[in-house]
Symmetry: C2
Subunit: 244 residues, 2 copies
């Protein structure tokens, strides 16, 4: 099944993976000092997502900002969490750009994602942990916003203590971030495989003699995963039957 | 029991009810157009709570702002909710004033309250309602803040659709607001009675010939409530015994 997808893909001309037009609304008061944001920006470029940094704007036109939102299919709010909330620049922008009418008529069916960076470890964000609340709980305001706008709220993409990550983990994070920006949800095996195929064909095959090798190898891996998934489903079905 | 409290109270000299020093951090970008805030400000004055309006400050000294917090026993964040979060002025102030060290060493044991105004009705803030989330859920960031600072988080004081309230309801709200600012928690019958006694002695008896009448009447009412409470407790105890 995945094999046919490779054969049909028109490798070089795909600009946006899965044809998802993504707008990243970035709020960060000291972005030049943030190596995390520079790192993420490179990832956003690789998948042709639009990067819109609010703190750089001296002033903004309500109409133009709204048009950016209307033109996007996936809208991402990206920010460092200060005292368990977004920076003032995002709050200020929200207050000026959003209205009940705009929210209720113009964003329906789009996706809303949150990319949040924090200096605290993942284990802090649970009952009994140092923070004591989950990010889902803390970022409730954006879930309410998505609900009001009839947008689909994506699972929160959290980056914990970026500085402590090994280089390998940072690269893994970069791939995950790019998938968050441009992969179809849900994050299923099939959607993931399809995304990787498109990504590798765009970024590696154009200027690489080994393109057939990479293609074949990756195709083989996904085929194996596909088979494994089928087997798992059979086992699961068997268990269900037993239980009945 | 309540009677003796009246006899011991030195009526006119009490400046702050229950001796609670309360600081209200107000964030509202258009406070002059807000009759709600003007109304609340009058209430704050009546109980000698300090009113600190952030949007008026052109600049502020970190040291002085921190000292205000250190000097207060009860700290209130008061704001209209825009898109399910506090206004940018409060977020900006928080970012500049708070630090991990300050939070962990200077606010322990104090109380943190939230006074939030919203144009939506109370019934919207529940699962299945128009907003779909409770104010407790939406305002989680402040609960986390209180937890981090080892402060006691007070029940949220919400003002829904102030304009639609009847004059009588507005006056009731004003009394409740004043109690929120200056009454001991928990909001028990005893704490409430004690607060009302002090409040009436301060505000009515000084310039009123009928002071003894008011005093006697109110004392009688609280005495009756006290008796009723005792009876209720006895009944409840009886039920508990039966269940055992």
């Amino acid at each position: 099944m995945l094999q046919t997808k490779i054969d049909n893909s028109n490798i070089i001309n795909i600009r946006r993976i899965d044809n998802i037009k993504t707008l990243i609304i970035v709020a960060h008061p000291q972005i030049d000092n943030s190596s995390t944001e520079q790192f993420l920006k490179r990832g956003a470029e690789l998948v042709q997502a639009d990067w819109h940094h609010l703190d750089e704007l001296v002033t903004f036109s309500i109409a133009k900002e709204r048009q950016l939102l209307v033109d996007a299919q996936r809208i991402i709010f990206q920010f460092p969490m200060y005292w368990y909330t977004a920076p003032a620049s995002l709050i200020n922008w929200q207050t000026k750009i959003l209205s009940n009418k705009f929210l209720q008529t113009s964003l329906s069916g789009k996706e809303l994602g949150i990319v949040v960076t924090t200096g605290q470890p993942a284990k802090a964000f649970k009952t009994g942990g140092a923070v004591g609340y989950t990010l889902d709980q803390i970022l409730t305001p954006y879930q309410v916003l998505a609900r009001q706008a009839q947008m689909k709220f994506l699972p929160i993409f959290a980056i914990y203590q970026f500085y402590y990550l090994s280089e390998k983990s940072q690269l893994q994070l970069l791939m995950d971030y790019q998938r968050y920006l441009s992969q179809q949800f849900p994050d299923s095996l099939e959607n993931r495989s399809q995304w990787y195929l498109q990504y590798f064909t765009q970024h590696h095959l154009a200027d690489n003699d080994n393109k057939n090798l990479i293609k074949a190898t990756f195709s083989q891996i996904t085929q194996e995963l596909d088979n494994a998934q089928t087997t798992l489903n059979l086992i699961k079905q068997d268990e269900d039957d037993t239980l009945e």
